[in-house]
């Protein structure tokens, strides 16, 4: 089914951000000097063709989830998805609105959930490190 992440890929993960609402303001400081994600070899790229990880954040409406699905399809094979914040998990504070997608997992296979609304940069870094350890440890759940 999905080609598994192999060990050498872990040293350089390129992420493609598909973030609707608040998540982006949290991902931005990751490049800053305080939470430097580049020391793990993680780089934000601008085209899904180059990316390994799709960072989905913020509430997904019915239209935007379709686009997110197309982007996920267009990423080359060994890929993973990180859901950022509580909105992808359960629609977050828009849980009761008619057009938000309650659970992103139904549409896109999500590998890693980072909790928090919005999650602090430390939480994002910690999430990515746990993903890295999971891959190193061979547990590709």
């Amino acid at each position: 089914m999905r080609k598994e992440f192999s060990k050498p890929m872990v040293k350089s993960i390129w992420i493609f951000e598909w973030i609707n609402s608040c998540g982006f303001s949290e991902v931005l400081p990751l490049d800053s000097s305080k939470f430097d994600m580049e020391r793990f070899g993680i780089k934000a790229v601008s085209s899904p063709r180059h990316a390994d990880c799709l960072l989905i954040g913020g509430y997904q409406t019915l239209k935007s989830i379709e686009i997110a699905k197309r982007i996920y399809e267009q990423m080359p094979e060994p890929k993973c998805v990180i859901a950022l914040g509580s909105c992808p998990i359960s629609g977050g504070m828009y849980w009761d609105s008619y057009n938000t997608v309650k659970k992103v997992d139904k549409y896109i296979p999500v590998d890693l959930w980072i909790l928090g609304c919005p999650p602090r940069p430390e939480a994002i870094i910690d999430g990515i490190i746990s993903l890295v350890n999971a891959i190193n440890g061979g547990k590709n759940d």
Partner: protein, 325 residues
């Protein structure tokens, strides 16, 4: 002795790739350090290339067969330039002309552009026509400097003023008064900016602008093709800094230290590496961390306007100095 050149033809490119990726790693590390960030490990480019070669290579339906062939051509043309330049401080493997090298420098970015154009995506089309505009821009100051120097060689009465070998005889600083030194430094400054432009580094990176046109030329490239373009970028860094070394600092260290044989070789190559490192840091790492991107319209004005005037000013100063002395 022709089989030695064959071996050199086979070995040098591999050494160049390793050196180039190492330099890119140092470049990213120094840039991070300048922003008080920890920055990626020095060997990060090696991990990136290895990862890219593992990933799938997606070929879009709309793209033609050229899309798959062009990364190959751009790397091959860069390999060829390395053979014609005094790489690692040694004398060049094959003897060539400066005009030939100038034209061959167009081939890698042309291959990238042809690949981008035939990938069918509008992002890549916009990116590639910006790359061509960038290429048209930076050629003017580059060609003026190189032709001025060969004209200077010609006025010194050198037999073959255009061949690379006669350039490595240190033509730039020969017979210059203090005024001439200032002019030569001005030319060096212009050359460093042109090098940054040719590598499409931040002030001039309109063609692979991440934010505006998603990924620029390489929007559709993935996996192994992207890996080849990554290597091509590293090689281009080596080639251009070697070009500046040939033009401005061609003298070796071994003659100075007076050691012969194998040690001279090693000393020369280490000195060459240091020269290339310093040039890279001053030319594009400093620029990468300090200047933001130019608009496409400002690009050609920057090259044909200010940079060209600066180089003409430098040439004029050197000319006055030659007349005075």
């Amino acid at each position: 002795m022709w089989w030695i050149t064959l071996i050199e033809i086979a070995v040098f490119p591999i050494v160049a790739i390793l050196l180039g990726l190492l330099l890119l790693g140092i470049d990213r590390k120094v840039a991070a350090r300048m922003q008080r960030r920890v920055g990626p490990p020095i060997l990060q480019p090696f991990y990136d290339v290895r990862k890219l070669f593992i990933k799938d290579t997606v070929i879009p339906k709309k793209s033609t067969w050229i899309f798959d062939f062009m990364p190959l051509l751009s790397v091959v043309s860069l390999f060829i330039i390395i053979l014609y330049l005094p790489f690692m401080g040694l004398s060049p493997v094959l003897h060539g002309d400066m005009v030939f090298i100038l034209y061959l420098l167009i081939l890698p970015s042309l291959a990238k552009v042809l690949g981008g154009i035939s990938s069918g995506s509008p992002y890549a089309a916009v990116g590639s026509q910006r790359e061509i505009t960038n290429m048209m821009g930076y050629e003017f100051p580059l060609v003026t400097i190189i032709f001025f120097m060969s004209w200077k060689l010609f006025s010194f009465g050198v037999a073959k003023p255009f061949s690379v070998a006669s350039f490595t005889s240190g033509v730039m600083w020969a017979g210059l008064g203090t005024l001439g030194i200032a002019g030569a430094l001005l030319l060096l400054f212009v050359m460093l900016l042109v090098i940054a432009g040719e590598l499409s580094r931040p002030p001039f990176d309109v063609s692979s602008a991440g934010e505006e046109i998603a990924g620029g030329i390489t929007a559709e490239y993935s996996g192994r093709n992207l890996g080849l373009f990554y290597i091509a970028d590293a090689l281009k860094l080596i080639v251009l800094t070697t070009l500046v070394v040939v033009l401005f600092f061609p003298f070796g260290i071994s003659g100075f230290l007076g050691i012969g044989g194998w040690f001279a070789l090693i000393a020369d190559s280490i000195f060459y590496f240091i020269k290339v490192l310093l040039l890279m840091i001053f030319s594009e790492t400093v620029l990468k961390t300090s200047v933001s991107r130019l608009k496409v319209t400002q690009l050609v004005n920057a090259y044909w306007g200010s940079l060209l005037m600066l180089s003409l000013l430098g040439i004029f100063i050197i000319f006055i100095d030659m007349v005075l002395s």
